[in-house]
Amino acid sequence: MQPISVHRIWLLIRRNVMLYGQKLWAYPGPLLGIMFIVWSMSDKSYAEGSASNFLNSLYIVVLIVLGFYTSAHVLSEHKTADGRQSSLTVPASDAEKFIASWFYSGPLFMLVYTVAFFFLSWIMIGILGIFGIGGFPAFNPFEEVVLKNITFFFLVIQPAGLLAAIAFDRAVIPKAFGTLLAVALSLGALGILTFRIVYRDAFEGFFTQVGKLNVDGANFSVNTDSPFVLLLVLGLMLLAATYFKFQEKSV
């Protein structure tokens, strides 16, 4: 059983922030700055609702891209033998190192990014207001669509990034993206196969129509929780794979 000490996890997070945190603080700023400049230069005649959608979409896209990047780089020490040696001999258990990496690239990244986005959105609204362009709603991180994507980030994007960081030494981002794509395609194929088995009569390949599912007047109950459960299982599997890979890591 691997020992877990909160104090050592705290020291590891502190170490990550001190030595590698520059990236975490540095990238969201300029990237968001550029995106807000694009926003401020675009057509401002949209209604309040579409402005809100714009902010949500912007938040989600940057969250996925930057979050994936941060997760895939949090274990960057492990890319070289010298770095691995340095990391493996830090006096903390593998479980503590894994938890610290997860916390750094997950909750901590999320907090820093969301706070930065929130304040930048206010700054931009203020700047636009100076030029007489007003009436924009502030960014609200608690909107359903945002929360759904945050859940998606924690269940898929971050675990995939962490697994890629530990599994690949070079070209982490493209390989991780490829892995994610492969997982998605496999799941999709599995879904189609299951669908083909269950709804054989209604299955017409690309021409399948959902309306036809009501075969022989039978009513099928729809479980709306299933995507979440599926993603949760996928996320846990990715995290477990990352941990075991981490534990087996040697120089």
Binding site: P3, L19, D82, Q85, S86, P91, A92, S93
Partner: protein
Amino acid sequence: MIHLQNLDFGYRKGERLFEGLDLNVERGGIYGLLGRNGAGKSTLLKLMTGCLKPDSGSVELFGREAFDRHPDSLQRLYFLPEQVYLPARSWKLLAKAYGPFYPNFSEEAFYNGLETFHVPTDRKLTKLSLGQKKKGLISFALACNTELLVLDEPTNGLDIPSKAQFRSIMAETVTDDRAIVVSTHQVRDLAGLIDPIMVVDNGSMIAHLDLNAVSNALSFTLESSLTPPIDALHHERVPGGYYVVRPNTTGRHTEPDLEVLFNAIVAPNSRVLTTLASASHLQNA
């Protein structure tokens, strides 16, 4: 501190680097780990510190399996590898980030070490030379005040004054409750410092010698002869004559030259090794 028992290890399947290797490291000495290039000195240190997993056999570090990398074991040792990894930060930040993991870490001792070695403290670590990085990390290793220090080729990249400073610091560091394991192929850099010595060759530990026992059994002399001595256990041509190793029949102690001793040990059908083995048997009897 470290117990290796019947250790087998190889990087590739079917290729054994170590086979049935046994080794014990106890407190109170600077163990010199010697071997030819590629003999597996660095690999052995990585196995000792839990950075590599043995194929079979056991590696115990402070009473636990080394590859478990238990924090209680890791905080009692500091491993300085030959190739160092440093982030693009300052020494100050490095001390703040890593120091708290070691219960006896002294920031003051660390900065004193940097000053002694004349390591610049105002530059990014990645901008320093290999020697400066090594000296900085040696200072950090000593400041950790761990029971066990494992140093892989620590004098590589060090300039001449730094080597002398390193020797004197090491001599001050070793106490009865600590141990230092130093792997090197530059044995002259560590002459007068390492004792005992361990020689790795052809996948096994061929010698684990206390230098006092070596002096009891062998004599080391520089002879200004033009022809090689016939009665020597081992001889080497040096400017002005021969360096000769003979059985010590006089009981007078001579300082062993580590480089000559190493060459004598790893020589095919080493007579020095046979003599040392029989002397050890006599002593035990």
